[in-house]
Amino acid sequence: MTSQMHAQPHDAAPGEGPAAIELRGVEKTFFSKSETFQAVKRLDLEIGEGEFLSLLGPSGCGKTTTLRMIAGFEEPTAGEILLHGRNQVGVPPYKRDVNTVFQSYALFPHMTVAQNVAFGLERKRIGKAEVHSRVEEMLQLVGLADRGERRPQQLSGGQQQRVALARALVNRPSALLLDEPLAALDLKLRQAMQVELKRIQRDVGITFVFVTHDQGEALTMSDRIVVMNNGLIEQVGSPQELYERPKTRFVAGFLGTSNIMEGTVTSYADGVAVIDAGDDGRVLVPADDSAVGDQITVSVRPEKIVLTHGERPSGDRECSVQGTVSEMVYLGTSNTYEIRLNGGETLTVLEQNGSTAEATARRGEKVWLSWRPQHSLLLTGAPADGTGAADDAG
């Protein structure tokens, strides 16, 4: 298992030979008559053998362009793409040992399912008997053993998706590239396919590079996630790491819900910066380097916050702010609250529905919000959605 618990893109496990895929200083600029568009600004990334890696980001962040460069459909403007240590720049797609599962599946409509799956093997001039047995085996793996003679258009969306997967995997590529393969499926099927894909990836042990804009999908399946924005990598890490310790405003906002606050450091000591707002509250943030007067951005996840009445809480939940409940939504297993702070910002709080189904607070009530300092996250960079900055300014 090469899943890494470090956030740096450069530390594939040492001493294990070359990474399955390595991108070095990859850039891609599209030129048209009137304008140039820099889809990928600079990318350094190592993908380990057998790893399930997701490229996650909003549309236009460069994730699909990156995948298409690995597949060979686009050539990088600068940089190198290495497969098992060999540079692939300039190698046409049909000579690269990677296969792609397309978002639209791109199954050949004039061939049967079995002919579709056999297409790659036949190009490789593998014996008829072996092609046959490998196609059978692969259709078995994706649960379509009895559909080999059908035409792709006679199958459901989910089944077509499996054919696309089988058609790529049957070639035993050194990496499988998946371009939002689940986007066209409905929610139930998508969730089932997420589990299925993960199982297949474990079974075959092939490196998967999975492009998605769906953070839930990325969190569920990936060993590591690369969060991309504007053609750059924002952060690389395991799902847990990215969720628990996002480094930038963008990552915090893109993965899950985040409460983002801004404030001025009033004191800094022992790696903890403090924003003290007197009676309105006090927020402690672990920070490697800070100074009094610094303008900082702090995030805290809604489920880390505890909501209480009355006195200002004490104990290990040293961060506490006061506010008024402006909205309460019952979600079945949980309640969410919108709390308007005295400072003007609005925080979201998620409270599990425990033994009592009754909500802890009602609209208009004065409450205290508190959390442990280690759940305060210091963020850098611009917000995920451009609108956040103005709203959150406190």
């Binding site: 046409p92 049909y94 990677v98 050949f108 004039h110 490789k124 058609r167």
Partner: protein, 301 residues
């Protein structure tokens, strides 16, 4: 829209329902009438004419003489075969010329696609006869092509193109090329470019992708193009008349002469029907051989 859904509050009277069900037929009526009056009736009349005997001076009478058919076929057998051969050659030439053009426009045309198509269609804005006459000028014995070649002593001074099969086939190919380009363009244009990428991804080179994916999926387009060139080319008479000579006479010329010069209406009608029958049989055999139904189903999806 024939029936209200059970939970639909809007009730539609039974009469309206019945009329509604007939909507499709009402819409087809004008076109259907047009076809009945201007296509079916002349065809029936032509058929009956082909079975008459007599001459222009004394009038024709219906005798159901089938022998006119055998008679004309044995008399104009050469022109008949020549027309079919020319049509086959011209059709093949237009496919070879049109496919790369259509492919290029569909795949690389970008936002200028319609401009390129317009350029291909531009000759249509000039009369068919004038266009063909231009070829007469181009291919003339001392026209600028042969004149130049002769001047450079690249061909002998008695070399000529006009009145040869080459001239007729050139003219036909030129005139019918757009009829091949358009259906090919339509079928190539609607191919999902991802299919080619998928083929490339699965170790097929560009050429293999073209042969294994693009070509089979555009068979319906080729079929439509063949229909639109082969049939009119086989019955064309303008090109043979303006560019050809005595040895390039096509069946169209024969029918034209029989009808308008000799006024032998039964013979002309019989030949027309023979030609139509031959073309229909040929087309059906061709569709069978290609398995067009299967392919059309695949391409429609």
């Amino acid at each position: 829209m024939s029936r209200a859904l059970p939970d639909d509050d809007v009730r539609i009277s039974p009469l309206r329902q019945r009329l509604g069900r007939l909507t499709g037929y009402w819409l087809a009526l004008p076109g259907g009438l047009w076809l009945a009056i201007f296509f079916v009736i002349p065809m029936v009349y032509l058929l009956s004419l082909s079975l008459m005997t007599g001459d222009f001076i004394n009038g024709f009478s219906q005798t159901f003489h089938v022998s006119t058919y055998w008679h004309t076929i044995s008399l104009y057998h050469d022109q008949f075969v020549r027309s079919i051969i020319y049509a086959i050659i011209v059709t093949l030439l237009t496919i070879v010329l049109a496919y790369p053009m259509a492919y290029w426009i569909a795949m690389r045309g970008g936002r200028h696609k319609s401009t390129y198509l317009l350029i291909i269609l531009l000759p249509f804005f000039v009369s068919f006869v004038i266009r063909t006459l231009q070829w007469q000028f181009i291919l003339a014995d001392n026209g600028f092509v042969l004149g130049t070649l002769k001047h450079l002593h690249l061909v002998g001074s008695d070399f000529h193109l006009l009145a040869t099969p080459v001239a007729v086939i050139c003219g036909l190919t030129y005139n019918y090329l757009p009829f091949m380009v358009l259906p090919l363009y339509v079928s190539i244009e609607r191919l999902d470019p991802r299919l080619m990428e998928a083929a490339n991804d699965l170790y097929a080179s560009k050429l293999q992708a073209l042969l294994r994916i693009v070509l089979p999926l555009t068979v319906p387009g080729i079929f439509a193009g063949v229909l639109m060139t082969f049939v009119p080319v086989a019955s064309d008479f303008v090109n043979a008349q303006l560019l050809g000579g005595a040895k390039t006479t096509m069946i169209g010329n024969v029918i034209y002469t029989l009808y308008l010069t000799n006024n032998d209406y039964p013979a002309a009608s019989a030949l027309s029907f023979t030609l139509m029958g031959a073309l229909l049989i040929g087309i059906f055999a061709y569709a069978r051989a290609l398995g067009t139904k299967d392919v059309m189903e695949a391409a429609a999806l």
